[in-house]
Amino acid sequence: MTALSIVREIDPSARVSPEARIGPSCVVGPHVTIGPHTELVRRVVVSGHTTIGSGNVIGEGCVLGARPQDLKYKGTLTLLVIGHGNRFGREVTVHVGTETGGCVTRIGDRNRLADGAHIAHDCYVDNGCRLGRMVQLAGHIRVHDGAVIEEMTGVQHFVTIGRHARVGPRTPVRRDVPPYTSFYSENYDWDAPPAVRGVHEAGIAAAGLAADEEKELRRALRELFDDEFALQTKIEQLVNMGVEGEVAQLCQFIQRSLRGVYGRHRELYRGKVPPEAYPHLPPELRPAAGRNVP
C-alpha cells in the first residue's frame, strides 16, 4: 500500500500540534491552535481565533470559529476556546464571541455534541454536557456541568441551564432551567408551555451526592416545584430556614433567575462582559475592573 496524499489546507501560521490528525478536505485558518491527539475527521473548517485543546474528535463537516450571526458583530477580534476530550458529531457549528457579549465562546471538557448542534456566540458550555441532534443554542447561554439537552431543542439567548438538568426534546426554552430538574413541555408537545416536570434522576446519580444531601435536595425540589406559582414565597421560606450545600446552590440559582428578566438571570449581562469571560481574555481585551459588575 502506498500512502495516499491527503489534500487539506492548513495556513502556515496556524499552530497545529504534530500529534493532531487533520483529515482530508479540512481547512485550518491562520489564527487557529490545535492541541495534540485532536482529530479533525473530514471536511472540517476551522477559522477565527480558535483554540482547540487535546483529545477532541471533530466530526465531518463541522465549522468552528466562524463569524457570529449577530448583526451587531462588525469583525473585531474575538475568541473561541474549546477544552479537551470533547466529541463533536457531524455538521456541528460553533461561532466565536462578539465584542458586546464578552468576546469569548467557551466549550469546556468531555462534552458530547451530536449532529447538527449549534453553539452561537458568547455561549459557555461547561464540562460533561450532552447536546442532542440539532440542538440550537442562541447567544450568551451558559450550560452548567453535566446538563443534558435532547434533540431539536432550541434555547433562547441569555438562558442558563443548571447543573445536571435535563431539557426534553423539541422544547422551546425561554427561561432558566434549575439544576437537577427535568424541563419539558406537557406530553412533549412543543406547543404546550414547557415547565419543570420532575427530577432528573440520571443527573442526581451522575452528581454522586452523599445520601443525606441527596435526600435534602429531593425534598427541596419536590417542595419548590410542586406549585411553581408560589416559587417566590417558598424559596424565601426555605432560605430563611437555613440551607447548605447543593440545596443552597439550587436556591441561589432560582433566586437569581427570579431577579433576572423574563426568568433569565443572564439578561443582566446584556452588553457587559460576563465573569466567565475573564480567564480567557488576553489583558488588552479585558475591560477596566469594576465596570461590569451587575
Binding site: 489534500v7 478536505s25 481547512v27 471536511r43 473548517v45 466562524a66 440550537q136 442562541a138 432550541g154
Partner: protein, 253 residues
C-alpha cells in the same frame, strides 16, 4: 482576476466577476454566474443555473442550486445582492420553477429553501428554518428556529414567525404568528418600530388587528374588511387585502 483557491473546482464555463473569492474545496458548476464582491467560503457548492448578484457571502459547506429531491434536473436559482448564506444552508432548484431570493437576506445555519420558493428583501431566517417549495416570503420577515413554511404558503411583510411554528396558510403582514395550526398572536410592534413605522401607524394597525383577529375566529366579517379596504391608511388597506387574499386562498393554498 477572481481569487480562487488551488483546491477549489470551478468549471470552465462558470462566469465569475473580477473580485470574487472562492475558498478551498468549493465546487462552482458550469452554468453558474457570480457577481462582483461575492465571497464563497471553503467547501461551499454552487450548482444548477444559479445567478448570484453582487456582494453575497456564502459560508462554508452551504449548497446553492442543487436539484430538489422531487425534480429531475436543477433549474434556475437567482439571488439578489448582499445576502448572507450561512453554514450548511441548502437552496434547492428545479427545472421550470425558479427559486428567487431578493436582497439583504440572512439565512442562518441549516436553513432550507425549497425549489420555486420566492423570498423578498431584508429577511432574517433563524437556524433550521424550512421555506418549502413554492412558498412566498415578503419583505422584512423574521423567523425563529425550526420554523416550517409549508409548500405554497405565504408570509406577509414585517411578520415574525415564532419558533417551531408551521405556517400552513397565509400569515398576514405586520403580525406575530405562532403554533401549529398557526394562529395570529398579535402585532409585531418591535419589528415595525425598527423598520421606521410611526406611533400612529402602529396604533392603527393594532386597532385593525383587534377587529380582524379577535379571539379564535380568524375571519372578520365582510363588512369590516370592505371598510378597511377603503381606509385612508395604506398599511390598513394592505392588511385587509392580505386577509381577503388569505381567506380565499386558504383552502387552495
Amino acid at each position: 482576476m477572481p481569487r480562487i483557491s488551488p483546491y477549489a473546482v470551478v468549471e470552465k464555463t462558470a462566469r465569475l466577476a473580477e473580485d470574487v473569492q472562492v475558498g478551498a474545496f468549493c465546487y462552482i458548476g458550469p452554468e453558474v454566474q457570480i457577481g462582483a464582491g461575492c465571497v464563497i467560503e471553503s467547501g461551499a457548492t454552487i450548482t444548477g443555473r444559479t445567478v448570484l448578484g453582487e456582494g453575497n457571502h456564502v459560508f462554508p459547506l452551504a449548497v446553492i442550486g442543487a436539484a430538489s429531491p422531487d425534480a429531475d434536473e436543477p433549474g434556475r436559482c437567482v439571488l439578489g445582492e448582499a445576502n448572507a448564506i450561512r453554514e450548511h444552508v441548502t437552496i434547492y432548484s428545479a427545472a421550470g420553477r425558479e427559486t428567487a431570493i431578493g436582497t439583504d437576506n440572512l439565512l442562518m445555519i441549516a436553513s432550507v429553501v425549497g425549489a420555486g420558493a420566492r423570498i423578498a428583501d431584508h429577511g432574517i431566517f433563524a437556524n433550521a428554518t424550512h421555506v418549502d417549495a413554492g412558498a412566498v416570503v415578503e419583505d422584512y420577515v423574521r423567523t425563529s428556529s425550526f420554523v416550517m413554511i409549508a409548500p405554497g404558503a405565504t408570509v406577509g411583510a414585517y411578520t415574525m414567525v415564532v419558533g417551531y411554528t408551521g405556517v400552513d396558510r397565509y400569515a398576514p403582514p405586520f403580525s406575530m404568528v405562532q403554533g401549529y395550526p398557526m394562529r395570529v398572536r398579535g402585532v409585531n410592534t418591535e419589528n415595525l418600530k425598527r423598520c421606521g413605522f410611526g406611533q400612529d401607524d402602529i396604533r392603527a394597525i393594532k386597532a385593525a388587528f383587534r377587529e380582524l383577529f379577535n379571539g379564535t375566529a380568524e375571519f372578520a366579517g365582510e363588512k369590516v374588511l370592505s371598510r378597511m379596504l377603503s381606509d385612508d391608511n395604506v398599511h390598513i388597506r394592505r392588511l385587509a387585502e392580505a386577509v381577503r387574499r388569505g381567506e380565499t386562498g386558504r383552502r387552495s393554498k
